[in-house]
Amino acid sequence: MDILRLATAGSVDDGKSTLIGRLLYDTKSVFTDQIESVERASRDRGDDYVNLALLTDGLRAEREQGITIDVAYRYFATPRRKFIVADTPGHIQYTRNMVTGASTADLALILVDARKGLLEQSRRHAFLSTLLHVPHLMLCVNKMDLVGYSEDVFETIRAEFTEFAAKLDIGDLTVVPVSALLGDNIVTRSTAMPWYEGPSLLHHLENVHVASDRNLIDVRFPVQYVIRPQSDQYRDYRGYAGQVAGGVLRAGDEVMVLPSGFTSTIRSIETADGEVEEAFASMSVTIRLTDEIDISRGDMICRVNNAPSVSQDIDAMVCWMDDAPLRPGQKFAIKHTTRTSRAMVKDLQYRLDVNSLHRDLGAEYLGLNDIGRVRLRTTQPLLCDEYKRNRYTGGFVLIDEATNRTVGAGMVNEAR
């Protein structure tokens, strides 16, 4: 059994919380006391039916306003997979949460209301999913029961979305008509829509192939922590601990360490449970080398003939997440892999209108939830790849050094 991480997004009334509630309910991942609590709350609110959305709306302010404030994480499992759902709010002011949820997602699930069709927000969510390079995208056309399960309505939305999607770099797109409220096409194929021949939502989630989405080609091992036991038994032990960001490493491999450029050979790859033959992306391991060279946190182990860019000049897309705007000339702390440095904004090339994809070349700042292309100059070289090639060596965050807030998320286009 493996894990699928999915991010959901939708507008306020698309029924996203109901859909998640439905998935939890139908996979028997909600417990009777949670159901009872929701039934009680639904009655108190005067709802006609058990409001499954209340299963996911957690905070008091959310229940009062009927909206979702922050990314909520949900868990359900079937015999095939464990699912981690990052449930993100749809309203415009919370784009930063969607970006947060999408950053680790294998699949983005976007909801539209069949009666309303595509909204600006649906386009924005699709764009953000591709910007964050979520490998799989699923569009759920919800509330099909309210349009008489009409194939025409579904096909119109699908055609419109497919046309928009052609402008984006979408790896894999699936479109499914559903009714979250009534359970149509959620777990099993709905008899109300015989014209639909695709998989049910859950069937797709259980079967979508994600093993090859990870970068297993370019060896990237950001050194996170140096293990040096202060004990007699391990007097000369020196291990480089970290999580593999890309590729497959094996004992005996010749490797290069950046930024020094020294080369060595992997003596062993260790875990607390013993040595392993190989380590691949997302494994946390400890690497020991045959040579004693000076390596510390923030360095990167890679291959001699396949190294990341080593550069202080970074061209990146930035999603701005703070009330105080980003402007050229500002300085921030930048956290990238296990390396923290400082960065100055050299230049804002354009702000992107996420609805029309229009580039505003005259933009002078990025406000909260704006996305733009910037050039940064860092105090230390970053060891990075194009974000599209590797999310974990291409992504970074910007931190305001005065407030310590995380103010921006960046995705490397190019490093020179």
């Binding site: 868990y75 970006v99 680790t104 260790e270 607390a272 691949f280």
Partner: protein, 301 residues
């Protein structure tokens, strides 16, 4: 690409947790791990061992002792800390009551008053990062909390003002007096915890497994008769085969009827169970829909 380059669910969760432990050890000067002797904190200790092997765990552990403990759990706590050669710090609620630092609420429960005792201990030792074993599947408020949860100088959580957390990058910067609560088990469920306990053959305090105990029923839950939990005249006592799903404050934590006396049987039971861990056994979260949210805002875990 073949399937062998895909981690299983437990491997992926373990790898994520190990990464988080190492990140904190690398970026904070004074981390501490909350260790109660409960199953989640036992799993936490195992993950910390794995993160730093073959070196020792490079931080102390802290127990906020409510004074309402199951003796089996305290004994286990002391033994485990000694085995791993860990520095065990205890922040005592009874001591804080004696000093007049906190006042006992009229109902005698100590859940709420352990928060100031915790905050005092963190302040005294100048801990800037505090590992907790909370999971997001436990509660609706926890479901919205970050892995690195920023707390102001009062230890308070502000759900509307959380730091965005992208990829595996965690913002560990704090000003003097502020701190980060770190939750490496965020993405684990109760069932994952039990699968891991089985896989790692982790020893647990005996009360997690089925045993006979004198109990009484209150609010539909079974409570053990002990010095903290005395039945009222209207509450008859009887013997039942029970086990504990959580081990919190002994005056508040209820037992569940169970015949599961081995880890395999507990895994099977948890997989088939229909009531959440906290809903079945924690009197403290039943008071209001937003009980946990309120306590977290005050600085609770």
């Amino acid at each position: 690409m073949t399937r062998r380059y895909q981690l299983t669910q437990l491997e992926a969760l373990e790898s994520e947790a190990v990464h988080i432990f190492r990140e904190v050890a690398a970026e904070f000067e004074r981390p501490v791990l909350l260790f109660s002797g409960g199953k989640d904190s036992i799993v936490m200790l195992r993950l910390a061992q794995k993160a730093f092997h073959p070196a020792r765990i490079p931080f102390p552990v802290l127990h906020v002792d409510t004074g309402h403990n199951f003796p089996e759990v305290l004994a286990f706590r002391d033994r485990r800390a000694a085995e791993l050669d860990l520095q065990l710090l205890v922040a005592s609620v009874p001591d804080a009551l004696n000093r007049g630092f906190v006042q006992a609420p009229p109902d005698g429960t100590r859940n709420r008053i352990q928060t100031p005792v915790l905050l005092e201990a963190l302040d005294k030792h100048q801990f800037t990062a505090v590992f907790g074993g909370a999971r997001r599947d436990e509660d609706k408020a926890r479901a919205k909390e970050r892995i690195f949860s920023f707390r102001d100088e009062f230890g308070q959580w502000d759900p509307k003002n959380q730091r965005p957390e992208l990829w595996n990058l965690y913002n560990s910067r704090v000003h003097l007096g502020e701190s980060i609560r770190v939750f490496p088990l965020s993405n684990w469920t109760e069932l994952d915890i039990w699968h891991y306990i089985a896989q790692e053959r982790l020893e647990l305090p005996s009360i997690y497994y089925a045993h006979e105990r004198t109990v009484f029923e209150r609010n539909g839950m079974l409570f053990a008769v002990n010095e903290f939990c005395v039945p009222r005249p209207s509450e008859p006592t009887f013997t039942a085969t029970v086990r504990y799903r959580t081990v919190g404050d002994a005056s508040l934590t209820a037992a569940v009827r169970s015949d599961a006396d081995t880890v395999e049987k507990v895994v099977a039971e948890v997989a088939g169970t229909r009531i959440t861990e906290r809903g079945a056994t924690r009197g403290d979260d039943k008071f209001s829909e937003a009980a946990m949210e309120d306590r977290k805002r005050e600085g609770y875990f």
